[in-house]
Amino acid sequence: MTSPGIAVSVEQVVKRYGSVTALHGVSLDIRENEFFTLLGPSGCGKTTLLRAIAGFEDVTEGHIRLKGKDLVDQPPFKRPVNTVFQQYALFPHMSVTDNVMFGLLRKGWSRQEAERRVRDVLELVQLSDFAARKPGQLSGGQQQRVALARALAPRPEVLLLDEPLSALDLKLRQAVRMELKAIQRETGIAFIFVTHDQEEALTMSDRIAVMSSGRVQQVGPPREIYEAPVNRFVADFIGETNLLDVEVESVNDGMAKVLLPGNRRFECPAAAVEARGAGHLSVRPERISICAEAAGDLIATVTGHTYLGTDNQLHVKLVDGEVMSIRLQNTESTLLPKTGDVIGLELEAGAARLLAD
């Protein structure tokens, strides 16, 4: 059963195509009025899950409830959810107005009410001047907004978005992110957004579910996903990270004592890991600073650097041969060590995390 405040509840959903399992018992709760993102590499099952919510895929096992009502046996045209498709799927033979009105008329709205609603939604996406055009006469960004307007018009309980920004160029994509987020706040509808772009997920979402190989790896707000990943996959997939092989000495109360390469001791927060043995330490490149060789947690040799504009990326090699990258802000006061220099590395306390495999 679903508790109040939950828009969609996905319960132990399994999807098999013959011998291939696309979803291994996925469970998720999407709250009302939430911008929720399904993030993962291609083939992780995020689109399958979205299509299962929309009704385009039958689920093999499990339930999908919308405000408590089971959707599993409902065909797509009876589910009060609407989708913004990756390629927009605007009907090419209809004007913008007719596209947006399509869902309203099928739902049985009167023509008069429908026309009023179409005007309102087109205003929301700032396309009032293009109402009479055909989709083929619009730019990619405008088509994307028509697709959004068409899906929002029938006031769905939940809006599903299948990588809607992937067909836009970079500059436009960044502008549309903010717009999309603003529209979500304004309409108060829960958005379920599918993407493989971690930057998109981090900037727009209230909460993110990171998926891989048909399983949910972690669910949480962007900051938690980035700063407190629960396993190697999440740490590696979201942003850049250095993963160091370390020896775990003890884990107490979520804090671990580990032995770093080069045999210095270090204390850090730990995700659920075995109390002893080999472990992985994840450190973001921007959470490492350089210092004198003797004062560092790690000793490294500089192997090169890359200029990135806002940052300088430093490539180093540890005594045991492991390779790391470090980001130093590009300010005038930053003195870059030269290739071949031996330096000490200081890991920011609390920012390094011990992870399970």
Binding site: P76, F77, T83, L90, H93, R106, P154
Partner: protein
């Protein structure tokens, strides 16, 4: 773009091209030109005249040819409409039903009439109609035409269907359209150029058919091609050239329309 090959470099390219064009089109040009001949001879040029076109509509053979033309048009319209409907349904099934048992077999069966020698179909149809005791007449021509027109209508429709991604129907159903409404309001309008193109192609194929028609037609019933053939057996008269030229024009117009509509639809998506 890959660098295109300059065809002119092939030895004999020009000669072969000219021979092909000559063999294909010279007779047509001769027929078209001589249809405007003022002379009653089919070989001697006697000046330009529209007399034979007038003769086609008012001359002694006019009633025969008019009846034949009417038969041809009735058959072509009915056969191509039915064939287009069947071909449309077949194309939807073949492209939207996913994989099903016998899909390859169905595809082969739809397109088989294109591969079977026409005379075989003609003999088979005749044998079939007499075996079930069906009196030959307009109906038998109509049935035979409908059947062999299906693959011709199917080809452009199915080509069009394959270029329509199924996301449009999904979008329609996502927006509360039942499968029937999704077909009627979204898929069918998108298919229309292919359907029209298929219809026109089937129409012209039916209009032109001689062989099968000649086998399955009943006594006393003529279509334009069989009437022309019957008339030619008694010696070629210039009015035949006028009729042939008229048919040529109708065919060219229909085939061009079919091609243009098919292309227009493709540019839209």
């Amino acid at each position: 773009m890959a660098a295109s090959t300059n065809l002119r470099r092939f030895p004999g390219f020009l000669t072969v091209t000219i021979i092909c064009l000559f063999v294909l089109y010279a007779p047509l040009i001769v027929v078209a030109v001589y249809s405007f001949n003022a002379s009653t001879s089919i070989t001697n040029w006697g000046g330009i005249s529209l007399a034979w076109y007038v003769d086609v509509f008012t001359g002694p053979e006019a009633p025969k040819f008019q009846q034949a033309a009417l038969n041809s048009i009735i058959i072509a319209v009915c056969a191509s409409i039915v064939a287009t409907i069947v071909a449309t349904l077949a194309a939807v099934a073949m492209t939207r039903a996913g994989r099903f048992r016998g899909k390859t077999l169905s595809f082969a069966l739809i397109n088989l009439p294109l591969m079977v020698p026409e005379v075989v179909t003609a003999v088979a149809s005749l044998v079939f109609f007499s075996a079930i005791g069906f009196t030959t007449g307009l109906t038998t021509i109509l049935i035979a035409h409908t059947v062999f027109c299906i693959p011709f209508a199917y080809l452009p429709i199915s080509a069009r269907m394959q270029s329509i991604p199924d996301m449009y129907e999904q979008a329609a159903m996502d927006l509360y359209a039942t499968p029937r409404e999704a077909f009627k309001l979204v898929l069918l309008p998108l298919m229309t150029p292919g359907v029209l193109s298929g219809f026109l192609l089937a129409f012209i194929i039916s209009l032109d058919d001689f062989l099968i028609t000649n086998f399955v037609k009943g006594a006393g019933i003529e279509t334009l091609p069989t009437a022309i053939f019957g008339s030619v057996k008694q010696g070629i008269k210039p009015n035949i050239m006028a009729i042939s030229t008229l048919m040529l024009v109708v065919s060219v117009v229909f085939v061009s329309l079919s091609w243009l509509i098919g292309r227009m639809g493709q540019e839209k998506t």
